[in-house]
């Protein structure tokens, strides 16, 4: 028993170097939870923009503010990451890209694609 004393007795997430696939997985969960929390704000905007021309104008004015712009870029990143990771998971369900090297490559593609969407959104609204 004595030689086992230095074994880690807990899983310290900060000490374990996560593979890129694990980062996709946890960000898929985190982005999902964050989007659920943001959902009321989006439904509010949807409601306001449809109510009348004045409400529509107010939504477009709100979209000019720096805070809302930042929120839109963040949301675009969350959504893009969630969608790309989701498509990747669906393909993995069908055993497409299941080999370690291709799974690793597609995980990087998810991160890169989501970042690209965020940058494009930033360029489009600024």
């Amino acid at each position: 028993m004595k030689q086992h004393i230095n074994r880690p007795v807990h899983l310290d997430l900060l000490k374990i170097r996560q593979p890129v696939m694990a980062l996709v997985s946890i960000l898929h969960r985190a982005s999902g939870v964050l989007m659920v929390l943001l959902l009321p704000a989006f439904i509010y905007g949807f409601d306001l923009s449809l109510r009348n021309a004045e409400g529509f104008h107010r939504v477009s004015t709100l979209l000019q503010s720096d805070f809302v712009k930042w929120l839109v870029v963040a949301s675009a990143w969350l959504l893009a990451h969630h969608l790309l990771a989701g498509v990747r998971f669906l393909l993995l369900d069908f055993h497409i890209g299941i080999a370690k090297h291709s799974a690793r490559r597609s995980a990087w593609l998810v991160h890169a694609g989501a970042a690209l969407v965020a940058i494009l959104t930033m360029a489009a609204i600024s």
Partner: protein, 115 residues
């Protein structure tokens, strides 16, 4: 398959089927509105169009079900104390139901006035 055996399969399948619909509808909506300025009248007419209105209702239904299954999975994995887990699920369920009713009201109101 018996009810008990399919207990884990049903939410698993629901999550994937709703994901595919969300993806398709979102793709269509982004394609439809990409390029070209948006004004209130065109926006409202689009939402009021029967096919889009029903498509949107299904979109939000799929979205809220997707959020429920996903949130439930997250709560079951990370929220260990039974009382806290139960509280999280109750708040999530009530919140999503409220959002569903809110969206239903919006979609109805748009069709009611333009009809």
């Amino acid at each position: 398959m018996s009810w008990r055996l399919s207990a884990g399969l049903r939410p698993w399948l629901l999550q994937r089927l709703s994901a595919v619909y969300l993806l398709l509808f979102l793709g269509y909506a982004i394609f439809h509105w990409s390029g070209g300025a948006l004004d209130h009248q065109a926006w409202r007419a689009w939402v009021a169009h029967p096919a889009v209105n029903i498509g949107l209702a299904l979109f939000f239904a799929a979205l809220l079900l997707h959020a429920w299954v996903g949130g439930r999975d997250v709560a079951m994995d990370y929220v260990r104390p039974p009382f806290l887990r139960y509280a999280v699920l109750v708040v999530l369920g009530l919140g999503l139901t409220a959002m569903g009713l809110w969206v239903m009201r919006i979609l109805f109101s748009v069709t009611a006035v333009t009809a």
